[in-house]
Symmetry: C2
């Protein structure tokens, strides 16, 4: 396959994740023969640049996928549900960034550093699902701790950037902050409440048990990706006025005691994860530092003062990169490397 | 004591907490006969308004407290250590907002809604300590849950406003945000890192066990105020780009199972605490809503999916009011009501 090249479609190309996918396909020199950019009616006619070439954005429809090898979807769950079947029917493998197929038993849910072999399951449906952005950031450090000590329970509070709501989320924080700076009234549209200088403990819709869908994604996706239905996750997700990197504060309880030194050793060997934990020198992970980077960052690694089989961690990762576009492109790389 | 009035000094009068103390002494019609405003050299000569009168700010020194009944200190731990003894010697009762005396066994640490009777201990040293701002916000809901179910373990992640660093913290977020809006470089001075559009998992100094002093305050102050050394607290404190209200995400494990319905009932009876928990109607506590209010707010009350003896809560309270100035004034009210 060394010199094979692929026809790639990006559905949702004009969104924040879609545009990051384009940048990553360039940066990582993915073997693209032809790139097709797809979006809803509203964005067709726009052009985007790929390797110095202008490519026109075309309207996403059932006929979009003729001759496509790999279809990267990031246009929301509704569009994935509507158009992924047509892409598969046309012969493409779909890598879907939405929540539409993640929990379906015949669709693999993959973080390449964690469960690369799960990708084999793509042949059942022709679809591979990309996990939720916060799930990915949270699992990068959980995986090596789970392999060593078997994770029993995770209590996680998130600090999620506005990019998680796409380009309109980024624009909303920008607009609200500028309105504040000019002394103008602040208008709310992308989020349920003002996000500038505020916190919103509400991401995705509420379920009857009081948790949001976003929170339950952390529970169920964690179990599926780590392949262990006995892991308990107790989540609280919160939107914060930060542009593009998600952070989580996690308490991780394991069956086997790990301890700080061993944890640092395990975490520092995890591909795609960097330990930054020299707090007295002012070095710990932060969103403004993680934004634009491919790696996730973990620090503030401490033994839980109340349970010697638990650790506290602080993890930060770019939501658009490892939390979304990068993970999808890594899945595509794995796919062409092993199967196409 | 009905008609008695008191001479009151505010040390640190020009700070964010000091100015809020003045507003609260007015709002609550505290029986002030004479008000003395004290600050460091830098602020002397300034004037502040109290009940329509201009009062000059005087230099804080050992001679400042002659004839003072109640000295409210909010000028930092160093100044409290330096000048509180002189205030006590001059006959004043000191109510100290700093961390200087909080953990001393002969100094009461008081939240009036929680442990009002502890105030009696003030006679030993003439000092009453006001708890850390995040401790107060966290304990307002913990108290009724502890009384009912005995709290065993709290895993808490904070989302702390810049006002926790005083007027200079507020000014730093304002200045950095305006610089961003104008496309100018962002300068860092009050916090160890940029706070605009960022999160800083670093409040107060780091200790050898990897926790910050701020985090350990939550551990030790909780035990002292609730009078139970067996309560475990596992804390992570984070500064967020919010102006004046602190938020905490807490997982609370109790000996006796409480459940959501009972928890709501217990929490709604707690004075100074308001339950806002109609998430499907978009009603949950948020910093922009809590800022400027005296009450603390709790919502997102959920049973922990991993432990039926634990609950997840989201709590928000104005850091300058209940987290600092209001609690201090409430202590003063209790003091004059019971002892002076």
């Amino acid at each position: 396959m060394a010199n094979r090249t692929y026809t790639v479609a990006v559905a949702g190309a004009t969104g924040a994740v879609g545009e990051t996918m384009l940048r990553l396909l360039e940066e990582r020199n993915f073997p693209v023969r032809r790139l097709k950019l797809l979006a809803s009616e509203r964005s067709t006619g726009k052009s985007l640049t790929f390797k110095g070439e202008e490519i026109k954005v075309e309207r996403l429809d059932d006929g979009s996928f003729q001759g496509i090898d790999i279809a990267l979807f990031s246009a929301g769950a509704t569009r994935s549900q509507e158009f992924a079947p047509a892409a598969v029917k046309a012969g493409a493998v779909v890598i879907d960034n939405s929540s539409a197929f993640r929990m379906q038993s015949d669709v693999p849910l993959v973080i390449p550093e964690i469960n690369p072999d799960a990708i084999a399951g793509y042949q059942a449906r022709g679809i591979i699902a990309n996990p939720n952005c916060t799930t990915i950031v949270m699992l990068m450090p959980l995986k090596p701790l789970h392999d060593y000590g078997r994770v029993r329970r995770v209590i996680v509070s998130s600090y999620q950037a506005v990019s998680g709501a796409g380009a309109k989320g980024i624009e909303e924080l920008r607009r609200q902050t500028l309105a504040w700076a000019r002394g103008e009234p602040i208008e709310v549209s992308a989020f349920p409440q003002q996000i500038a200088f505020n916190l919103i403990p509400h991401i995705d819709t509420f379920q009857p048990n009081g948790y949001t869908k976003e929170e339950l994604k952390l529970v169920f996706e964690t179990r599926k990706i780590l392949g262990d239905e006995s892991i308990g996750v107790s989540p609280t997700t919160v939107r914060v006025p930060v542009f593009t990197a998600h952070s989580v504060s996690m308490n991780v309880e394991t069956e086997r005691k790990i301890g700080v030194d061993r944890a640092k050793e395990l975490l520092s060997k995890m591909p795609g994860l960097v330990v930054i934990d020299e707090p007295e020198a002012g070095r710990y992970p932060m969103p403004i530092f993680a934004a634009g980077k491919d790696d996730c960052f973990v620090g503030r690694i401490r033994e839980d003062l109340t349970n010697d089989h638990a650790l506290n961690l602080w993890v930060v990762g770019d939501q658009l990169r490892k939390g979304a576009a990068l993970n999808a492109i890594q899945i595509a790389e794995l796919l062409v490397d092993r199967y196409l």
